[in-house]
């Protein structure tokens, strides 16, 4: 079921943007543990700064939806997944190292 949701969102994003430009990101966190709390703040700040108006950020708490952790093969948390544009990129950590994030998302 969650996979379907993801697909739906993907399709939605694609439709809205004509398949171009807009980033769809998912951030998997575990409640308000320090790493997760930092990741939430960092991701929001990052998106506002580098992807303003061309992103959608979904924050998922796997404490609330443990089944999603299995579907996405999550072990390390926090985890940011760039679902779109393809290819999919997975970033582990609290996103405090902005340079790595920029490099991996090819935004530099």
């Amino acid at each position: 079921m969650p996979r379907k949701v993801v697909k739906k969102i993907k399709a939605k994003v694609k439709a809205e943007n004509g398949g171009q430009g807009k980033y769809f990101l998912q951030l998997f966190v575990t409640g308000i543990l320090p790493n997760s709390a930092r990741a939430v703040a960092n991701s929001k700040a990052f998106c506002e700064r580098y992807l303003k108006d061309r992103y959608e950020l979904e924050i998922i708490d796997i404490y609330q939806q443990p089944a999603l952790a299995l579907n996405e093969e999550i072990i390390a948390v926090p985890l940011l997944i760039k679902k779109f544009p393809l290819p999919e990129v997975r970033l582990t950590g609290d996103l405090s190292n902005i340079e790595t994030v920029l490099k991996e998302l090819q935004l530099n």
């Binding site: 404490y63 952790a69 299995l70 072990i75 390390a76 996103l95 405090s96």
Partner: protein
């Protein structure tokens, strides 16, 4: 003394039975309950199978649901492994008793952007545990994690995992590679602390032996030795070296040797039930024939017999025995007579014993025959063999199984053959068959070297194998007869041997 100790520690330290043959014996009742146990070993040591057996037995024997988290094998591969051990996995899956999950780590290279932890793994584990209400958990193997993540973070997380498992009161097995990986190099096992088991796979003389050792078991006594273990189609068997001699009962019941005249020599009654009997002799003296006659007589009295042949294939034994009037085939068909046949070099002696023991457990025979034991002796140093054989004989005695083994010896080396010496001290009845040359003819002779707890004949008997079976007859010699006298009387014997010698035997029951 050992018993009293274990009782005391059992009170302090709750244990969880693994259900694996032998392992529960050497751990005095299983691995620590509600705590994690570390299972270390190189690739191909049997870690996964042992862990899996622990879970399946937990479900089948103790109704404890289980979670298996695999970092290496895919779920389908795991399922196949469990099925190959003959467990009814589908039933357990359907009843929601077991949950298998593959944790895919190599999905992509980990790109670190800052601090992180393994909370995702905890969430998944917690989710899985909740799903089946698990009491037992296996994580196989954590090494994979260490290849992918930052070791420092992992050590902290590992520590957290251990306390998490303890907090949730889960009996867990965590497997890991030994030695050259980060897992053990970073001293992770310190955190587990309660119980560490190491598996090992060693090749000596081209024969592989798997061994198991309990390195650490906090708060409990345990066997310190390395114990050989075996993996076959029925799973793992560990051979404990501990055998409680006090458990041995000494029966005063008797069992016929199958040769009338031999029974007469043995106090008119035959062997003791549950005793050990050795027949030693040079090649071609009829050791196997005596053994087969015994087997035949046992089966004829509707008791089971296990014939372990290390020299000849069962069919050959059957054919050869037919020539002396013993037809074993119908007995085999009726299931009373069973053969264990294996080349001695196929595996280590200990493993032969494990296999034989498994058969004994299944068949519950009243007699076991090992023919010949000396063939097994080519493997490994003699002291090992002696102790292994002693343990095996002890085991059979506890089970009240009569064991007969034959030993081939070279001419004139009876006293000098160290292995034979070792055996003869552990057997209750020792018979020797020898060739005596009479002019141009070889004559077989039989004598009882010793027989504990009974009056037995001290005479050397002429031992004749004909198409009607084995007969013993008296050797007639002059008053202070020597071998030369014996030779001189050769003609006389030949005449005598054809007549029935039973009358001559009566006087032989003398200590």
């Amino acid at each position: 003394m050992a018993k009293a100790q274990s009782k005391r520690s059992n009170v302090k330290f709750p244990k969880s039975m693994t259900g694996i043959q032998g392992l529960d014996v050497i751990t005095n009742g299983g691995i620590p309950k509600n705590r994690p146990t570390l299972l270390l070993g190189n690739t191909g040591c049997g870690k996964t199978i042992l862990a899996m057996e622990f879970l399946v037995h937990g479900i089948e024997m103790f109704n404890e649901p289980a979670v298996f988290l695999s970092f290496e094998e895919k779920t389908e591969e795991l399922e196949l492994n469990v099925r190959s051990l003959g467990f009814d996995l589908d039933k357990h899956l359907a009843e929601n008793k077991i949950y298998l999950e593959h944790v895919n780590i190599n999905q992509d290279i980990i790109k670190e952007t800052g601090m992180y932890d393994l909370e995702g793994l905890f969430v998944r584990l917690g989710h899985a545990v909740k799903k089946v209400k698990a009491r037992r958990v296996v994580l196989d193997s954590l090494d994979t994690l260490f290849f992918s993540f930052n070791p420092q973070m992992l050590r902290l997380e590992f520590k957290r995992l251990i306390s998490w498992l303890k907090e949730k009161k889960l009996t867990a097995i965590i497997t890991g590679e030994i030695g050259n990986t980060l897992f053990t190099r970073h001293g992770v096992e310190e955190y587990v602390a309660d119980c560490v088991i190491i598996l090992d796979n060693r090749v000596i003389n081209q024969i592989t032996t798997r061994r198991l050792r309990i390195v650490k078991y906090r708060g409990s006594i345990h066997g310190n030795n390395e114990y050989p273990f075996l993996i076959d189609e029925k799973g793992i068997t560990v051979l404990p070296i501990i055998s409680d001699v006090l458990l041995q009962r000494s029966s005063s019941k008797r069992i016929s040797s199958g040769i009338e005249q031999l029974d007469v020599m043995l106090d008119n009654k035959g062997f003791y039930v549950g005793s050990s009997i050795l027949i030693s002799g040079t090649a071609g003296t009829g050791k196997t024939s005596i053994a087969a006659t015994f087997a035949y007589s046992v089966c004829k009295s509707k008791k089971r017999c296990l014939f372990c042949a290390f020299e000849e294939a069962p069919h050959q034994v059957i054919r050869n025995m037919r020539s002396i009037g013993i037809s074993l085939e119908p007995l085999m068909k009726s299931g009373l007579l069973n053969f264990y046949y294996a080349r001695p070099t196929l595996q280590n002696l200990e493993l032969h014993f494990i296999s034989i023991k498994k058969m004994i457990k299944e068949l519950k025979p009243s007699v076991v025959i090992l023919d010949p034991i000396t063939n097994l002796m080519t493997e490994g140093p003699n002291s090992d063999i002696r102790s292994m054989l002693t343990r095996f004989v002890d085991y059979l005695k506890i089970e009240q199984i009569t064991v007969l083994f034959t030993a081939a010896i070279t001419v004139g080396s009876i006293e000098r053959n160290p292995s034979d010496e070792g055996i003869s001290s552990m057997v209750d009845t020792w018979m020797m068959v020898q060739d005596i040359e009479v002019d141009t003819e070889r004559t077989r002779s039989l004598c009882i070297m010793k027989s504990r707890g009974m009056l037995h004949s001290t005479l050397v008997k002429k031992f004749l194998i004909s198409s009607k079976g084995i007969t013993l007859s008296r050797i007639v010699i002059k008053q202070n007869g020597t071998l030369t006298d014996f030779k001189r009387n050769a003609k006389e014997h030949q005449n005598l041997s054809t007549s029935n010698g039973s009358k001559d035997l009566v006087e032989s029951a003398r200590d």
